[in-house]
């Protein structure tokens, strides 16, 4: 009996196991593209998605008014048999074509006066655009789409009640008239009085508070607001109200005592003029200062509430059923001189958000108890999704998988230019977060692409199935350099505030070795902008390849220009800039050590200034969010480099590099506050066609992205002579703040109320002139050495043998062609057989280099 029971148990377990084992299901002649994601998207609502991960579904559910395509020799996109003529693709070139729109017109000169376009703007054009839509646009259930749907959606996008994440796109990136005012209506905050008000009038007297205190002093009461007088005078934060008052008296500007001036602090203008003593002091101050009307405002701060704003005053409306007009505050040149679409049309105007009105309304959720923020479930699940793009969502399981299938109601399938494209019937994506699982799935033919990682790079880096894709991300180290904070840190690290110390570290870094040690496929980089940025998109001008950009980097890395165009790094002399650039690797270790000797002298001779204690070691604290193998790798490299750098210099044995991984998700804020000294792997990704806009990460305090927040770019001045040409400001030598230069370069100087206003945005002055200014600003930023750029992002992907890309050459506009141009080599059933014939293991195949 026992034997029988035991035998039955064993047999049943074995049967269970083996019965469970059979091949995967097949879906016949379907072409399914199977991919994976480490984190499932959860919110592909165009109005409110939070990060790039959410766009992996969104991109397939929406369409574009204007889109990029490959450029084909002689315009011959198709062969005689009707297939796409891949042999005729012109390397690196592109075209911009109409897709969901049929016409684009510049209507700046003819739109209503209420949009405030003066004659100059009307003449310049590119402020107001009319887009004519196709009349066959529909949702995936056949519901027609017209211009009023876009207007409804924009109103929802900007709805102040929802505070939608993507609202800022329409007042920061594309400056639609009134968009910001509509979103901000009802919000309150403290401002310099001349911010919201331009006229000094009686209605304001109670609202204006005299205040010459520093932002730090004002943090609690006035949200850190600084009056315009301080800004104009350029007082640093260390100059509080008392110091400012003393300065005005000591310099003889104001014939009052410092105490009398300070007595005005915190008083409204009404209170000041009601008191004889205060009024007398005030008159002395304003009497000295005022040269123009309304300059009284310069000494006051005020609490301002954004007024109500009607959507009728937002520059986005539908004059007819299929026409959409967009009125901008900053112009965008979407048409070329010959009337054809410029790259900007497909870049900035590719599409505006669109939601399905009835579904969106039904998905709105009221604010929860204790909250005033209503939410929406639109595009967060299968039932709440709608598509007007080439694919539609047919399956979604949160945290697990999603499936997209062809949307047979999509207008694009009937367009002749899309013939024999979109051959993939279905896209299936699984959440697979473990790298080993991703690889076993890929090697057994169950997913069709995989990112190359450190563990597999030696096996597959030369595979014929591996493609390399440059990204726009550039990364490196950020060094904290706010002396006041460094001195108070207790780490004896004031040396970081000395520019040459930071420069010495930059010059000692071996960027090639660093990237080979710490990354999989990333490569060395020396500039803020990597090799994927185009300064002249129309003509394929890569910024990093230009002479000016190269010369700028040479100067940053210790090269000097000699006579007859020669360049030298102090040791070698090169015949021209190109020769020097080819030899440049960002290192100049001799100069680095020389700089350190000078730095040591500066530090010890001014020990009090830098808070330096010669009896203590200098501690440089490296901070990060988590203690991981990766962060340790970067840290160890830095320890090694700094150790080698100080050898044989007075700093030898004096510097200790420590590691602190306790900062968690607040690591960026903690760095900005000076809690640690070196941030690793910090950087940004930008738009490949907008290198000028990318500068916001380094010089635009309003963007909130700068790591070096102590660097006031509104007071850092730069002189530059704009190249000759027929545009405003051409040939002039100008001096303005770095921030002002940036605003002019991006055509937002007027919008940002800058003192010097020029519109040098894309399409308005020659791209060559913009590039020259760009390289000047980049060099200026790099020479601060707050950011040591080391790395340019490159990603490597191993592609399945199931599909073939239309081209092996990466095109910045089209990638490798994407889903649209992928050609299946096997359908699902054939692929099943192919994998089986390889014993379910394609590793041998994928290791083949030819």
């Amino acid at each position: 009996m026992k034997k029988l029971l035991a035998t039955l148990l064993v047999v049943s377990v074995c049967l269970g196991l083996f019965a469970a084992c059979n091949p995967q299901n097949t879906e016949g002649d379907y072409n399914t593209y199977r991919t994976y994601t480490a984190v499932m998207p959860s919110n592909w609502n165009e109005l409110n998605y939070e990060d790039a991960n959410d766009t992996q579904i969104l991109n397939y559910l929406s369409s574009a008014f204007f889109e990029y395509d490959f450029k084909f020799e002689d315009g011959q996109k198709f062969t005689e048999s009707g297939e796409v003529n891949k042999d005729a693709i012109i390397s690196g070139a592109y075209t911009v074509n109409y897709s969901a729109a049929t016409k684009l017109e510049d209507v700046t000169a003819s739109v209503d006066q209420k949009w405030n376009y003066d004659d100059e703007k009307k003449e310049m054009g590119s402020y107001a655009w009319k887009i004519t839509l196709r009349q066959d646009l529909t949702w995936d259930d056949g519901t027609p789409i017209d211009a009023t749907d876009f207007v409804y959606t924009m109103q929802q996008q900007l709805d102040p009640a929802f505070q939608n994440m993507r609202a800022s796109t329409y007042y920061n990136n594309i400056n639609i008239h009134g968009a910001r005012s509509y979103v901000y209506q009802g919000q309150s905050g403290w401002f310099p009085a001349d911010g919201p008000y331009s006229k000094f009038e009686e209605s304001l007297f109670d609202k204006m508070i005299f205040n010459v205190a520093s932002p730090s002093e004002n943090t609690a009461e006035y949200s850190g607001t600084e009056c315009s007088f301080r800004t104009s005078f350029g007082f640093p934060d260390a100059y509080g109200a008392a110091e400012v008052a003393a300065y005005l008296v000591d310099a003889g500007y104001v014939s009052a005592t410092a105490e009398e001036i300070l007595a005005l602090e915190g008083k409204s203008y009404s209170q000041i003029i009601a008191d004889q003593n205060l009024k007398a002091t005030w008159e002395k101050i304003i009497g000295w200062w005022q040269t123009d009307p309304d300059e009284e405002l310069d000494f006051f701060v005020t609490r301002y509430t954004y007024p109500e704003y009607s959507f009728d005053d937002v520059g986005f409306y539908a004059p007819s059923k299929y026409e959409l007009v967009v009125c901008l505050d900053a112009p965008i040149a979407c048409l070329k001189e010959d009337g054809s679409l410029s790259y900007q049309a497909a870049y900035s105007f590719a599409s505006f958000p669109l939601v399905k009105k009835s579904l969106y309304e039904s998905c709105k959720q009221p604010a929860q108890e204790g909250s005033s923020l209503p939410t929406t479930t639109y595009n967060t699940g299968l039932e709440t999704s709608a598509s007007w793009g080439p694919y539609k969502l047919t399956n979604f399981q949160a945290g697990k998988s999603y499936t997209l299938e062809k949307n047979d109601k999509w207008y694009g399938y009937h367009l002749p230019e899309n013939k024999n494209q979109y051959k993939i019937d279905k896209i299936h994506c699984e959440e697979i977060s473990v790298v080993n699982t991703q690889w076993t799935m890929f090697l057994s033919g169950q997913i069709d692409e995989i990112g190359l990682d450190v563990d597999h790079k030696n096996d597959y880096r030369n595979s014929k199935y591996t493609t390399y894709q440059p990204g726009t991300g550039t990364f490196g180290f950020n060094l904290y350099a706010n002396l006041d904070v460094l001195k108070a840190s207790g780490r004896n690290n004031g040396v970081l505030a000395i520019d040459d110390f930071r420069k010495a570290l930059s010059l000692y870094l071996d960027r090639d070795d660093y990237n080979a040690t710490c990354y999989t496929s990333n490569r060395a980089c020396y500039g803020l902008l990597g090799p994927s940025y185009y300064y002249d998109v129309e003509n394929g001008g890569v910024y990093r390849d230009t002479q000016l950009a190269k010369e700028g980097l040479l100067r940053v890395y210790g090269y000097t220009e000699g006579k007859n165009g020669t360049w030298t790094d102090g040791t070698n002399t090169y015949g021209d800039y190109q020769e020097a650039y080819d030899a440049m690797n960002g290192m100049n270790r001799t100069l680095s050590k020389e700089l350190l000797a000078d730095v040591y002298q500066e530090l010890t001779q001014n020990a009090e200034k830098y808070g330096y204690d010669a009896n203590k070691k200098i501690e440089l604290k490296v901070g990060t969010s988590t203690d991981s193998e990766g962060s340790r790798r970067h840290y160890n490299y830095l320890v090694k480099i700094i150790g080698e750098m100080v050898q044989g210099t007075p700093f030898e044995g004096e510097i200790e590099v420590t590691f602190d991984a306790s900062f968690g998700a607040k690591w960026a804020d903690e760095f900005k506050s000076g809690s640690y000294d070196i941030a690793m792997g910090t950087g940004f990704e930008g738009g490949a066609f907008d290198p000028e806009g990318f500068l916001q990460c380094y010089v635009d305090p309003e963007a909130g992205l700068m790591y070096s927040t102590w660097w006031d770019t509104t007071k850092e001045y730069m002189t530059f002579t704009m190249p000759e040409g027929s545009y405003e400001g051409a040939g002039k030598e100008l001096t303005m703040s770095v921030y002002n230069w940036y605003c002019c370069l991006n055509g937002i100087a007027e919008n940002r109320s800058q003192s010097e206003i020029y519109n040098w945005g894309a399409g308005f002055i020659p791209e060559e002139a913009r590039m020259r200014l760009l390289s000047k600003i980049e060099e200026h930023v790099l020479k601060k050495y707050f950011t040591l750029i080391t790395t340019s992002e490159y990603s490597a992907t191993v592609n399945s043998a199931k599909f073939t890309n239309i081209t092996d050459e990466y095109n910045i506009f089209m990638g490798f062609g994407g889903i649209r141009y992928k050609t299946p080599n096997y359908n699902d059933a054939e692929w099943e057989s192919f994998v089986a014939s390889n014993n379910n293991d394609l590793s041998t195949e994928y290791k083949k280099s030819e």
Binding site: V39, N43, G370, T380, E430
Partner: protein
């Protein structure tokens, strides 16, 4: 009656303990600083206004160094709003910060993610208990013979291997090299289909092998000890066969220790195995709890904390009561 009073008393204490723990959880998670992260293309003001509107922070101020400072909305007010939301509206909230569940109903996500975790652990228990007990009994009966030695070596080998290594071995050989089982769990909610069962087998095996070894070791140790007791000789001298003596007397006595360990192991694995779930793409609750803390997703954290707290407290009571059923000599609450 003693038992009834005892159970009621334990339930009362359990509710009190539950409330204290939940209060602590709420306060502690809310004490963590709210992170204000602004990415490219985002407006910091909108990020902050959303946090203000959600009732998390107030008086947000942009500092000169570019960081934001703020006052936390008093935690007791937040607690009041939270409790009112649950008890008046039955609303457990929506995901806010966890990337895979932003905007999703917390209770719905929980309800959808719990079945895979329960099933995988249930299957692993169903597979593990009979095999583990069987091996343990066999080893105890063959104590110090070669069969016992072989089983002991296997047990030590398996116990020494973490389930993650077991998972890798199973995935590499059974799923990849030999193509016997799917590499990841199927999508969908048809948990009782044959196809879904197959796809659950790899994680079930990865989890159950460790359990099997554990049960076998426990059983062998307990049973070996019981078998040497004098009452076993008495049972045999009464005329019982060896099998009868073992199953009626030895097994029941050794179960006093073994049964609670089965129950507690099941409860423990109910929380899901983070690594096993990730490895086999099981959409379970294992990752949810950890991520809810990492991302400070308050509503997820509170619901999951409440669930695990309740399960643990209930399990304690059930285990205690189970002693009385297994061994009639144990009377809970009797003086």
């Amino acid at each position: 009656m003693y038992m009834f009073k005892y159970v009621m008393k334990r339930l009362g204490l359990m509710i009190m303990t539950f409330c204290i723990i939940m209060l602590m959880c709420f306060v502690l998670i809310k004490l963590l600083p709210v992170v204000i992260t602004v990415q490219q293309g985002q407006d910091a003001n909108i990020i902050v206004q959303r946090l203000v509107a959600r009732g998390y922070i107030q008086n947000a101020v942009l500092n000169p160094d570019g960081t934001w400072s703020y006052d936390r909305v008093p935690i007791l007010i937040q607690l009041y709003n939270y409790l009112k939301r649950i008890f008046v509206n039955g609303d457990f909230g929506v995901g806010v910060t966890m990337p895979a569940y932003r905007g999703a109903s917390v209770i719905e996500v929980f309800a959808k993610n719990l079945p895979p975790t329960i099933l995988i652990n249930l299957y692993s228990t169903i597979l593990g208990v009979p095999i583990g007990l069987g091996l343990g009994i066999f080893a105890a009966l063959k104590k110090n013979k070669w069969q016992d030695q072989v089983i002991n070596v296997i047990i030590i080998l398996i116990i020494s291997l973490p389930s993650v290594v077991m998972g890798i071995i199973i995935q590499y050989f059974l799923c990849f090299k030999w193509n016997l089982l799917p590499q990841i769990m199927n999508s969908g909610y048809d948990y009782f289909s044959w196809s879904m069962f197959k796809s659950m087998l790899p994680p079930v095996l990865a989890l159950s092998l460790g359990s099997i070894a554990g049960y076998a070791r426990y059983t062998r140790a307990e049973l070996s000890e019981v078998l040497t007791n004098e009452f076993m000789f008495l049972a045999r001298t009464k005329g019982l066969t060896r099998g009868q003596a073992i199953f009626r007397h030895a097994m029941r006595n050794s179960m006093v220790v073994i049964f609670p360990s089965i129950l507690s192991e099941f409860i423990a694995v109910l929380s899901g195995s983070l690594i096993i779930e990730s490895m086999f793409s099981v959409p379970g609750v294992g990752r949810l709890y950890l991520n809810s803390i990492t991302y400070q997703d308050y509503d997820f954290f509170m619901l999951l904390s409440g669930f695990y707290c309740l399960v643990s407290l209930l399990a304690g009571i059930v285990i205690d009561i189970s002693y009385g059923f297994i061994d009639p000599r144990i009377r809970m609450g009797a003086k």
